[in-house]
């Protein structure tokens, strides 16, 4: 089922605005586990999944425009048929309501990809979701249907409202339509495997980052460094020769990076009830956690810039993140928001949603 429900959305928001009733924007619910649950008191659900369908796609324009409820799986399929892929590498999580949501309906919507702005293993090389966004149409908190950006590669007319939607978790409006950049599919992908410690892996990744290599992912875990080389076949072949290491079997390779991206690997299952999964974004060269963290509870991506920790001691993780100039976020909890920045973020929310109709899971209040 697909169709244009945009006028229905504006009606719903207008009514909610008039009645000062909260709206909870729902897609597939595949990323619901990332932030605390929303207080549903005096709220209404706004299901956007039936507002779906691809609106424009000309492969040589390197952009696809689709309604926000379109399944990520569908977008990926349509692009693959033209030997293309999304320019960013967003994760596809499984809906927490797996019993009711299956297949295409469980792996997230395009709107959800944008609203959460989460990035997969390719982030340092192929960019984040915000980098790929070219335009959005949205319904703001007053029920106005607005268009920003467009389908062209460059656009500086007015403030960049489109990119501001990435990672806004629905605070600013109901995304209705999204234009996002696509990229030619890699001709070749190879994964190289090296046995080494986290410290050695970090050094190696920093060194490789200084070179011109078709690197599209790094992962260190459990004493093994995995490097994904991807792109033009001859470039990948040349890099493979230069770097050495063992080559991962093709069959395994296919799913290794998507399993990692989508958190299907074991690491992301906490070992006990008190452990949390922490996401640390830090400078790539930042010191690794000390002896307080067992190395089996560490997974490193993004050439060192993203570190996943399993740990129970909140204070230790936070102190570490801060000391190395980064930030951390425990899955299922609020993100840290700086006091001053939080004030401006709240003002921005008010600019879009003056009556706080959109009840987002992401709080913009100051939190450490």
């Amino acid at each position: 089922m697909s169709g244009d429900l945009s006028s229905q959305f504006t009606e719903v928001v207008k009514n909610a605005y008039a009645a000062e009733q909260g709206l909870v924007i729902c897609g597939h619910g595949s990323k619901g586990a990332w932030l605390p649950e929303i207080d549903l008191n005096n709220t209404q659900r706004l299901d956007v999944t039936r507002h779906s369908g691809i609106q424009a796609y000309q492969p040589e324009e390197l952009v696809i425009t689709a309604r926000a409820g379109t399944a990520l799986d569908e977008i990926n399929r349509v692009l693959a048929a033209e030997d293309q892929m999304l320019a960013c590498d967003p994760p596809r999580f499984q809906s927490v309501k797996a019993d009711v949501m299956v297949g295409d309906n469980a792996g997230g919507t395009l709107g959800g990809v944008v609203a959460t702005g989460l990035s997969g293993p390719g982030r340092p090389w192929s960019g984040a979701v915000r980098d790929a966004i070219l335009g959005v149409e949205l319904v703001n908190g007053k029920g106005e249907y607005l268009k920003f950006g467009g389908q062209v590669m460059k656009n500086v007319a007015g403030y960049d409202v489109s990119r501001l939607q990435a990672g806004a978790w629905g605070n600013l409006g109901v995304l209705a339509s999204i234009s996002i950049r696509v990229h030619p599919r890699w001709q070749e992908q190879v994964t190289l495997v090296f046995q080494m410690s986290a410290e050695q892996a970090q050094k190696k990744c920093l060194r490789l980052a200084q070179q011109n290599l078709p690197l599209q992912g790094t992962c260190w875990q459990g004493g093994v460094l995995y490097l994904r080389l991807a792109g033009h076949a001859s470039g990948v072949a040349g890099a493979k020769l230069a770097l050495g290491g063992e080559t991962m079997q093709q069959t395994v390779d296919g799913s290794f990076w998507s399993d990692l991206r989508d958190h299907r690997v074991d690491f992301f299952q906490p070992k006990d009830d008190v452990q949390k999964i922490w996401r640390l974004v830090v400078p790539s060269a930042a010191p690794l956690p000390g002896a307080w963290l067992s190395s089996e509870d560490l997974l490193i991506e993004w050439g060192g810039g993203l570190r996943w920790l399993r740990h129970a001691d909140e204070a230790a993780v936070k102190a570490h993140a801060k000391s190395v100039g980064g930030w951390c976020w425990a899955k299922g909890e609020q993100m840290p928001i700086d006091a001053v920045q939080g004030r401006y973020m709240n003002e921005l929310k008010r600019a879009f949603d003056p009556k706080n109709i959109f009840r987002s899971a992401m709080s913009l209040q100051h939190a450490d």
Binding site: E60, Y159, A239, G325, Y344
Partner: protein, 495 residues
């Protein structure tokens, strides 16, 4: 010339502001005399001028903070200025405002080799960053043609592009962090050597905000390793449409060139006279294509691209592997603006961006407009990302011709919007495109922009009157965007 003489300036506050600025800043950081002020009366959009009454050139962030406090308390506006190369009048003075020049804040604070970032002050020139990174084998990717002069702060404020955008992105894709001062006096450090940040993406919002939301006092940019090898190809076509088709065909084949520029006959003639780059003078259009990457890959892709060019009817193809010939092939393109400047006393540069498959259509429309207005147009543009730079040639000394040229420019931008594009790809709205913004956006959308401005700059002192046209202005123009047949704000008086 569109002179805009200072009117009813707020002289009492000015005296007070001046007194406070004098006690704050050393004398070399304050300009109040006529000749000293002259360079600041315009930016790169020289048809619009206004003499400022004061220019401040702070050397530290704390001076910027103090200047902002004085201006806020006295209700005087603040117009940030980098190098003044902007092409839309963004840094044009305001009769009531203080021009805040950031050129003295020009230190490269840190080249962080391991994290591949540079931390710099806003007045650092774009090219200076790449020069500082070069000993480490790295560079800063966005390279506007003005890169020897323009500042990184101005680049952030305009979200500047360059010839390598399709592959390497715009400023927004290469800036990882900023320190920014708001009009309320808050200094925020957003991002850093980090791949993402919690909460709303204010960094993205600040890129391209034209000095209207905050003053950038420090920038952290990403550095990339220099490409192993480059290949530059020059192709001549007898038909502009063939060149347009070649662009589509190359990108359609999954090749993302590092740069792909197009020039039409008039631009080629001008550039050739100026730079002797060896461009074919009988071509209706030429393409200059740069490919980069690992050596093995590059040879294969170069071969592929040449195949596409031939299939699309290129009658002359030159390919260069050596740096010297490459520099020659680029030289004509890089000097195209000054070269065209020699053809005519004045020109204005448009910046519309369109979907690539509309290239031929819009170029034909521009040609028709050129005949109708009897003004020559030279086209030099970033073909890879559909960003057109039609240069309209005119003579400002002929009465009425400046307005005539501006009117023609607006019509070109309307064609770009109608083709599904935008009025500005990389030069910004400034004061120049305020009217055409009315064509691209509805009243509700403009109002949303104003509410964003209020959120970040509640006192409204940052670069007022730029970037976003007021609803009254659009209403008066009569060119207001009409959405679904409804006139927005029917209660507004129209004439």
């Amino acid at each position: 010339m569109l002179h805009n003489p200072s009117m009813n300036s707020n002289t009492k506050n000015h005296a007070m502001v001046l007194q406070q600025l004098q006690s704050l800043l050393p004398s070399e950081c304050l300009i109040t005399d006529g000749p000293g002020l002259r360079p600041y009366e315009t930016d790169g959009l020289t048809v619009i001028r206004e003499m400022p009454w004061v220019v401040v050139l702070p050397e530290t962030e704390s001076q910027v903070v103090a200047i902002m406090r004085i201006c806020r308390e006295q209700g005087v506006s603040v117009i940030a200025r980098g190098a003044g190369t902007g092409l839309s009048g963004g840094a044009r003075p305001h009769n009531d405002g203080v021009v805040l020049g950031l050129s003295k804040m020009n230190k490269i604070l840190h080249i962080d080799v391991d994290n591949r970032v540079a931390r710099v002050q806003p007045g650092v020139r774009n090219l200076a960053i790449s020069q500082a990174a070069q000993p480490h084998g790295m560079y800063y990717a966005p390279d506007p043609s003005s890169q020897i002069a323009c500042s990184i702060g101005g680049n952030v404020a305009e979200n500047a592009g360059g010839v390598h955008c399709l592959k390497y992105g715009l400023t927004v894709h290469n800036v990882l962090g900023v320190r920014v001062l708001t009009s309320d006096g808050d200094v925020m450090e957003i991002g850093g050597a980090l791949y993402d940040n919690p909460g709303l993406d204010m960094l993205a919002l600040l890129c391209g905000s034209e000095g209207m939301l905050g003053i950038v006092t420090e920038v952290t940019v990403a550095l990339l390793p220099e490409p192993e090898k480059k290949s530059v190809i020059l192709a001549g076509f007898r038909q502009v449409t063939d060149a347009g088709n070649a662009v589509a065909s190359i990108i359609g084949a999954g090749i993302i060139p590092a740069g792909m520029e197009m020039m039409d006959k008039l631009a080629v003639e001008a550039a050739e006279q100026f730079a002797h780059a060896g461009y074919p003078l009988d071509a209706a259009a030429i393409l200059i294509i740069e490919l980069d990457g690992a050596a093995a890959e590059l040879d294969a892709v170069t071969h592929q691209v040449i195949g596409h060019l031939q299939a699309c009817g290129a009658y002359q193809i030159d390919q260069a592997d050596d740096a010297q010939t490459q520099a020659r092939l680029w030289k004509g393109r890089k000097s195209a603006f000054p070269a065209v400047g020699r053809l005519s006393p004045d020109y204005i540069c448009m910046d519309g961006t369109i979907p690539r498959h509309k290239l031929a259509q819009v170029l034909t429309q521009i040609d028709t407009l050129s005949k109708a207005y009897d003004l020559a147009v030279a086209n030099v543009f970033h073909a890879a990302d559909g960003n057109l730079h039609p240069l309209i040639l005119f003579d400002a000394n002929v009465p009425g011709q400046t307005d005539h040229a501006m009117a023609m420019g607006s019509e070109i931008l309307r064609c770009c919007v109608a083709a599904g594009g935008t009025v500005t790809g990389e030069h910004g709205v400034g004061v120049e495109k305020l009217d055409t913004m009315c064509v691209q956006f509805t009243a509700e959308e403009l109002d949303q922009f104003f509410r964003i401005k209020d959120a970040m700059d509640p006192s409204g002192i940052l670069n007022p009157g730029k970037g976003i046209p007021t609803l009254t202005r659009c209403g008066e123009l009569g060119g207001m965007h009409v959405h679904k047949g409804r006139l927005p704000f029917p209660e507004l008086e129209r004439f």
